[in-house]
Symmetry: C2
Subunit: 220 residues, 2 copies
């Protein structure tokens, strides 16, 4: 799960460095906030965005609801933090996967693979993202964070394409259009497949789409 961290992981974050009292206070606040947003993510994934209470989250996080209010001004504040964390987490995973390989072609392949894999490895994440989608019309902060998510995808692909063009490996394609096209395909195929996993053979289709993008972009 994208945003899930065990409490042990979180505790480990404070080890290994000597901190003064104020630094340690900030560190603990970060950990507590993360603990609460992790619980919120789990609860929303189980019950849906519109069917949970702050008490559900307090219980799951093993804290008092007073403590939640100590760290988050209100429910919206907590949800905005959760949405940001979810996106950072997915972003970091993608960036890390790309860094691990060298060469524009390899990076493009890993980027596409990790985008298409979301629907199989992060189903909960996708549902929770759709839940947040219903907020964009009414909540400008949520709208901005959501638009940052898709802009992030486009931007990552633009950078890969730019790098490949500079290195003479990719054709002179319109980077922004090609990135937007791929992100469109990825989001749209994900949407159809999440709603109906008998719609098509997901792996076959994504394989064909990858081949098409490669054909479009890579110099022969």
């Amino acid at each position: 799960m994208a945003v899930k961290k065990t409490r042990k992981d979180q505790a480990d974050q404070t080890k290994g460095t000597r901190l003064n009292r104020s630094q340690r206070g900030k560190q603990i606040a970060l950990i507590r906030k993360r603990q609460i947003t992790t619980a919120a993510y789990e609860i929303i994934a189980e019950k849906g965005y519109y069917n949970f209470t702050m008490m559900d989250i307090a219980k799951r996080a093993g804290v008092s609801s007073g403590l939640i209010h100590h760290y988050f001004k209100d429910k919206e504040n907590m949800l905005v933090t959760l949405l940001r964390e979810m996106q950072q987490s997915v972003r970091i995973n993608t960036e890390k996967a790309i860094e691990d390989v060298s060469g524009p072609k390899e990076k493009l392949e890993v980027f596409m693979d990790s985008a298409f894999a979301l629907v199989e490895t992060q189903r909960e994440y996708i549902h929770v993202t759709y839940d947040f989608l219903t907020q964009i019309k009414f909540n400008e902060r949520m709208q901005r964070i959501m638009s940052k998510l898709y802009r992030g995808y486009r931007q990552t692909m633009v950078e890969i394409l730019r790098d490949g063009k500079a290195k003479g490996v990719f054709k002179d394609v319109d980077e922004h259009y090609t990135a937007s096209l791929f992100v469109s395909i990825m989001l749209g195929i994900e949407l159809q497949y999440v709603i109906d996993n008998t719609a098509f053979f997901y792996r076959d289709y994504t394989y064909k789409i990858k081949a098409y993008i490669f054909d479009l972009v890579v110099k022969k």
Copy 2:
């Protein structure tokens, strides 16, 4: 707006034919139900799926909440009817647009145009559709109706492609894959643009996408 009908239009449906008492009763029930779901659509578009009451709908429709319960067993029942109506309405519009032209190339073009136009002409419809999307995980009926919507899009395009191949105008493309690819692009570009209308030049990009699909499908 897709599902909106004026009361005059609705009243017109009963004119022109002589009906017996039972037929006329059914007709009135249909009109009342449509009146209520139209009000529901407007209210949801304004307030969001999770922020309305049955009383809001009764007030907007100008009926008592008792009458709503007379026609719909419960809230879910009314929402399912609304979702079905929304989809039929969009489907009928698309089918009608395609029927109005002859020739597979013209039909393909009209189909793509009407799909891409949704984001500009039916913004409310798209938001309400996203609202329903949050239900698919928890409500099997909603999941089935939603999957029917996207299957409908794919199916319409499959038929156009099949017809064009039979008439020797289109290449021997994989119909189902090509339809799924186009629907993916359409849904994904719509999603990015609804969230952030500064993401790209929507008309330029959809124009390029149409040219690409034509290139993929039409024999030179």
